[in-house]
Symmetry: C3
Subunit: 355 residues, 3 copies
């Protein structure tokens, strides 16, 4: 299945890009990236059009890259500005440049048709700039797995009880049904587990001792950004569904970037409405997330291996797959729209009746 | 070439299967095996029908396996007994179960049509229960080789002089012709080398100093079980062919299990009519066999590599290949019978004559 | 693209071949080589025609090889001289033998139609036997790269300024145009860089301090032997182009042997008109060459990786590619001639007019 191309994907945290020529692969495309002297991050096709040497093997000269083989040189727009041994600079001696945007310490790249690259579409949240919230960059989880399985896992509340029984879930939620709704390019799956023991995460972070009401809202912004709004509040508060800020509330963000069909990077971070500016709390949460995400990684990589084998029977889908099913359908629709040209409205009728 | 499926293959020694979920691959099929509380060994398809996670990554709960991703649970017959999040248990939510038999400390599995799985067909020998004989489990030889080449090697007396010149063969047999006969599903190749120096094996184990009569009977029970009846007796005894128990007689058993097209496991053991209960003798023989089987492994793995390369000319067959030729033909016939449906006897004549 | 087969390729330095059975792969063909008792090097197909075991896994017996599996034995012409277990030696029980020539400490092999193997065509230079010149075997560079890219690099003066800026080139040559001419099976690219600073190599080896005239003549003898005639002379000498022996002159020889589509060995050596018999000078030059050739290897291996990926656009060729372009065209012509049968001259006209 092809990748969804018309999307802003995370290329990395801002700290990953500086002076050096940095090779990055996204949706199967090899890119070379660097931060230009004006501070903007540049992303070019990592392939000299002459003899195919990756430009990342070359040399940065000012804001241009000189190929390491014969010295062809390209500027940040991909235009060739020098061909040693000749004066003319042919128009086809270019490399593709990719639109890049940077926000809140995150570098985004548009892999599709550049005409569709609207900076307003870059993912954002009001809480990034809300002083009542604390944002903390976590890390990047590398998985030998398909990105659709990684993203699907992030809108799948049902796996939590079995994959993360000591961290993000517990047995209390095993049979609690999941609701699913969609709104524009966002699919949301959610459930509340009322009046049950706190999960490991909130025992440690929230300090709860008695029973809590716990919620999980899994928002999947197509194609592969997940915002998991989860939290807990003392059961005695009888928290209404739309007043979650009264509890301990976390947004776990996952920016899932397809590298190849077999490799995915999940840049994860969180925002929280408690312990603002408390680095120890951030480190503590990172540690808990790492344990949980390694549990996901083990499952997703085993599934990736299994999917490579010939299948004797088609897989089944069950009741808990409502969210994932909607997600797969929407992804298929996006790819269909990107890879076909719809000529449904004919210019003229096929037959003209003569009377 | 497909595998022969309708056969009892060795999955492992009995000691290999206990409480733990143990992944095993046979004829290309991933299985999960464990010993149930009633002592019987269970073998299931190692693939949850939902999201394909190997069940061996899950958790054993009593005599059931709970999938490690979403908790779907299967009993020892492969039937789904729980789907978290829903009440109904759909009939297609099953995993395939494979017939298993256990005898003399060996676990056998049937990979084909379950209706054809007849426990009476599991390999057996009267000597297993004969007090005059001593049975000793050896080890499992893992080879990066095709199982048909491994099995063919076990009914090929001609290689012994060249591959095992210091252990199982010597130059005396280089030109001694080989006889081949077949009986039911067994092919036998054999030869006697009369009045010659003892081979390394019987110098060590039999303690022979003068010349001996030596025999090798290679019985190949289709598709891939080898019983090598070999031994030596003092030449002065002039041993008749059918009175081999008077000599030092060994049955070397090889249970050849196809794992994939590129990987084979040969579980080997022996029975002997001398030194019953003598563990030192068993260890001594194991050590000698290990040397010899490593010699086979080196040859068979080099051949496997060579077979992957494009072939400019077709291989040749020579006089010593009588046994292997019969073996290959029988295997092709078995696969033909398993993979085609013979409608040779038409239900009605094609044309009906009207008179 | 198929390999050029009708050519003498270097199998190795003479020192590489002795008593031992030595496996060598050239143009994708697995060979076994050894030095026979008469001193001649033998090269045979490394594959027993019986069960495909590489003969190099067997045993040398006199000037024959005995297969390690069943003892089939072949002489240095590839003829089968023994089949254990039978008297007749069938004609088809042979292995292919390849013509071999040895000159100046180098072993050459002919991989094509044996009828075309003319010993007079083996590469030679008068300087090999000229007392004014010193010949020194260097080493063998192994590259995970396609041999045509390796050979093309050796007739490509333009890369020197960018890949070897501290050893074989410098910025002075970046824009100096390259001349290309062809003569028979040889393509020559050359340029003179007059009155500029000496490159690193000649600073160290020639001891130049002031400006020099420097030349590079890249002779490519099809399909893949490169002779790079390069040197320097004090600019004040105003050296004529055809009087290069007055300067410090080096012939860097590269014998490029295609191993597989993904692997190439470049046996390199040099001849020089200075410091005859000076081992320290040889070692010093080897050290300089090693640095430079590792720079080539890094580039060529990165290109090989890049070429395996799907290409969205066709590569471009630029002015400096004159030599490489001629080279590629000549290679395509050679392969066309080897792989097709030209029936251009019809035996009889297609239509015979009757009048």
């Amino acid at each position: 299945m092809p990748f969804v191309k018309n999307a802003w994907y995370v290329a990395g945290w801002s700290t990953a890009f500086g002076e050096a020529l940095t090779p990055v692969t996204i949706t199967g495309e090899a890119l070379v990236m660097f931060r230009a002297s004006d501070g903007r991050v540049v992303a070019l096709e990592d392939r000299c059009p002459h003899r195919l040497l990756p430009l990342s093997k070359g040399k940065r000269i000012g804001d241009t890259i000189q190929c390491g083989y014969h010295g062809m040189t390209f500027d940040g727009s991909g235009k060739c500005v020098r061909v040693p041994g000749q004066q003319n600079l042919p128009a086809s001696a270019y490399v593709t440049a990719f639109p890049v945007e940077e926000r809140h310490g995150i570098v985004w790249i548009w892999m599709g048709d550049p005409e569709g690259a609207n900076p307003d579409d870059v993912f954002d949240l009001p809480e990034f700039s809300d002083p009542g919230w604390h944002a903390h960059h976590g890390d990047a989880l590398h998985l030998h797995a398909h990105y659709l399985n990684v993203a699907e896992n992030l809108m799948d509340p049902a796996h939590v009880s079995f994959v993360h029984p000591t961290t993000l879930g517990n047995a209390a939620s095993e049979n609690v049904p999941v609701h699913v709704s969609t709104s524009g390019a966002t699919i949301t799956a959610w459930r509340w587990i009322r009046d049950s023991a706190p999960i490991g995460f909130f025992k440690k972070f929230g300090g709860f001792t008695g029973n809590v009401d716990r919620w999980h809202y899994y928002h999947l912004h197509l194609p592969s950004i997940a915002v998991i709004d989860f939290g807990s509040a003392d059961t005695t508060l009888a928290l209404p569904e739309d007043d979650r800020d009264q509890g301990v509330r976390i947004f776990a963000l996952h920016f899932v970037t397809p590298v190849t069909e077999d490799y995915t990077i999940d840049h994860w971070m969180h925002l929280r409405n408690r312990a603002q500016g408390d680095d120890a709390a951030s480190a503590q949460m990172d540690a808990m997330f790492r344990i949980a995400f390694d549990e996901d990684k083990a499952i997703l990589e085993a599934i990736h291996q299994a999917e490579q084998r010939p299948q004797r029977r088609k897989p089944i889908r069950i009741a808990i797959d409502k969210g994932p099913n909607v997600y797969r359908k929407r992804i298929r629709d996006l790819i269909e729209a990107e890879t076909t040209e719809d000529l449904g409205a004919p210019v003229a009728p096929s037959f003209v009746q003569v009377d």
